[in-house]
């Protein structure tokens, strides 16, 4: 939906002369966020242990004059972006390369700067990345995404952001970030994190599969009969009104009553606590976007095209396979994208009903009030969702074909 509504803007030719003002606003807002983190907030904080609040250190004190170099580099990259926007692809990619180098440098510098701060402190002391560090990082990533979009090269934004994540991961792996609290948290729970990530992916993929298994027959029935469509839309919208947390939680007693009534189901591996309530609950939420995009996708084919195909003697089955599905593909993939992204997010709540996944780490962090543990669980969820979103977006674009590109 987002894409359709937001890219369906009416273009107003002849206003290009004034457009630069707001273009400048859209580009300068993230850059200003970076500078805010550099000069107006605490970059890192030093705490006596992983749970107590720490004492803030601004970027200039923590990183030294390199902060000015970073700020100058950012301004240079933006200026370069303005100059090179009409040049060849290599020239257009130059400012993004500069920004990627800048982001990687900041990550490594922060790790290096943290080491001397720990000298002479008790072993439990922690150096945490504070508001300024996160603000600058977020602003820098937004700037990279924005500038990559300006190049007009579709793969530029995901590749550039993926590179930054890869470089940060490599820096963490090779020990540059060891002094940071988050890195310590990762090292202490490396096995757990890996297992949680695999569990999260398996759970959200399973829920998406279950949701699809329900949505395909429902969507087909709704496509054939308006009465079924009205009924399923009321029911599925009703599910959306029940809070996700409540639905998952309520499935625990519901499943245990069902299991008490039909003990044979235990033999199939069904249990009231664990993956079962998470899978069922998340799948119930996914049903609405999946069914509605399926119905809309099947309806997308023009009535005249359908008539022509019927006149040629096509059977209903062939009509669906060779006309409706190919023509509705963009909407079908868009529905799958919404479903997959929602599945990854909603699976977080599985941590509440014993299903594991990254949500379990988030909730453990909340219970301990340990910020870095919360981030350890939350960051992979967001990265996973963004990666799946951009992957399926690319797939959708491929299927739509190059001729319909704006």
């Amino acid at each position: 939906m987002t894409e359709q509504t937001l890219s369906g803007w009416r273009s107003r030719p002849g206003r290009a002369a004034t457009a630069w003002r707001s273009d400048a606003f859209g580009r300068l807002a993230p850059a200003a966020t970076v500078l805010l983190g550099f000069y107006a907030c605490n970059w890192i904080s030093i705490a006596p242990n992983r749970l107590l609040p720490g004492q803030g250190v601004p970027a200039l004190a923590a990183l030294g004059p390199m902060v000015h170099v970073g700020a100058a580099g950012l301004v240079l990259a933006l200026a370069l972006g303005t100059i090179t926007s009409e040049r060849g692809p290599l020239m257009r990619l130059a400012p993004i390369t500069l920004l990627i180098i800048l982001a990687s440098m900041l990550v490594v510098l922060t790790g290096v700067a943290a080491t001397p701060l720990l000298v002479g402190r008790p072993p439990a002391a922690r150096v945490m990345v504070a508001a300024g560090g996160w603000l600058s990082l977020a602003g820098l990533l937004a700037t990279i995404a924005g500038e990559a979009r300006r190049t007009g090269i579709h793969a530029a934004a995901p590749v550039a952001l993926g590179l930054v994540v890869l470089i940060a991961a490599a820096a963490a792996y090779s020990g540059w970030l060891d002094a940071l609290s988050l890195a310590r948290e990762i090292r202490a729970r490396a096995d757990l994190l890996g297992a949680a990530m695999r569990g999260h992916i398996a759970l959200s993929a399973g829920a998406l599969g279950l949701g699809l298994a329900a949505a395909l027959p429902l969507g087909w029935a709704a496509f054939r009969s308006p009465r079924v469509e009205a009924l399923t839309s009321v029911l599925l919208q009703g599910v959306q009104v029940v809070p996700a947390m409540a639905l998952l939680a309520a499935l625990v007693p519901a499943l245990s009553f069902i299991l008490a009534a039909f003990p044979a189901l235990r033999g199939v591996g069904l249990a009231a606590i664990g993956p079962a309530p998470a899978l069922i609950g998340v799948a119930a939420y996914l049903a609405l976007p999946l069914v509605s995009s399926l119905v809309a996708g099947l309806r997308l084919a023009d009535a005249a095209v359908i008539e022509a195909a019927r006149a040629m003697g096509m059977t209903e089955a062939r009509l669906t396979r060779e006309v409706r599905i190919p023509l509705g593909m963009p909407l079908l993939v868009a529905g799958l994208r919404v479903g997959a992204v929602q599945s990854i997010g909603l699976t977080t709540l599985g941590g509440l009903v014993g299903a594991g996944g990254l949500g379990a780490i988030v909730f453990e962090g909340m219970a301990q009030f340990a910020p870095d543990l919360i981030l350890l669980g939350a960051a992979p969820i967001v990265l996973l969702a963004l990666a799946v979103d951009s992957g399926l977006r690319t797939l959708g674009r491929r299927l739509r074909g190059p001729q319909s590109e704006p």
């Binding site: 707001s22 924005g146 009104v241 947390m245 309520a250 007693p253 909603l346 988030v362 981030l375």
Partner: protein, 238 residues
């Protein structure tokens, strides 16, 4: 009407005596249900928290929506909002609550941020679509009459876009109320509080009461919003 009736049914299910009777009638053992006055107090806090966050989100989203539909708004600003939409889909409310918890501490803070972020996008999308749907003839006529661009906005575009903006506010209202329960994980007093307590103490009746009461509140709010929209639409001359 349907929404309000469904809401009343759910409210009835959540009520202390009804819930207790149903529970014992089903033969599921003895559990202590949440008393009505506590449920009502939590419901009031739930509603206040949701409405406060929704009002802030509506103010921000409508202003942003007006901003990006101005003729001088460039493509990059729209691109930025596209990016915002992708990110807000990828970061579910429970993650926002979790990540902002260390900053704001236990209480309503993290929940308000999460609800603000969650309500922002549907209203922004609705506002943009509503203003885009204003026929260009109306704008041209206003220009011909000598309206300034501010006058065109206030006296032509916004009145014509109002019904669609109001519809998106209604969708956001239901979303925000259904989502506010998650705040209980970060110590906000909402109808999610009995859900979390029920999960921790294995008190299923409390859990189901919280779930039914949240659904009741969402349906009742939807019914109220529908009634309000109907009232607003009637007196306006076509």
């Amino acid at each position: 009407m349907g929404a309000a009736a469904t809401g009343l049914v759910f409210a009835g299910l959540a009520e202390f005596h009804v819930a207790t009777r149903l529970w014992s009638a089903a033969g599921w053992g003895v559990k202590v249900a949440l008393p009505d006055d506590r449920l009502l107090a939590l419901g009031a806090e739930h509603l206040a928290l949701s409405m406060g966050s929704l009002a802030a989100a509506a103010l921000a989203a409508v202003s942003l929506g007006v901003l990006v539909t101005r003729p001088w708004a460039g493509r990059d600003l729209r691109g930025a909002i596209d990016t915002l939409g992708t990110i807000s889909q990828a970061v579910p409310p429970v993650v926002v609550v979790a990540v902002t918890l260390p900053v704001f501490g236990f209480g309503p803070g993290p929940t308000m941020i999460a609800l603000f972020a969650y309500g922002l996008l549907p209203i922004l999308r609705g506002t943009v679509a509503a203003i885009e749907s204003v026929p260009s003839e109306a704008r041209d006529a206003a220009e011909a009459l000598g309206f300034t661009s501010a006058q065109t906005l206030w006296r032509v575009e916004l009145p014509l876009a109002a019904p669609l903006i109001a519809a998106s506010l209604r969708i956001a209202l239901v979303l925000v109320i259904a989502t506010a329960s998650v705040g209980a994980l970060a110590g906000a007093a909402t109808l999610g509080t009995p859900i979390v307590a029920g999960l921790q103490n294995q008190n299923e009746i409390e859990l189901l009461q919280g779930a039914a009461a949240t659904a009741a509140l969402a349906f009742l709010a939807d019914g109220a919003a529908l009634a309000l929209l109907g009232l607003l639409e009637r007196p306006s001359p076509a």
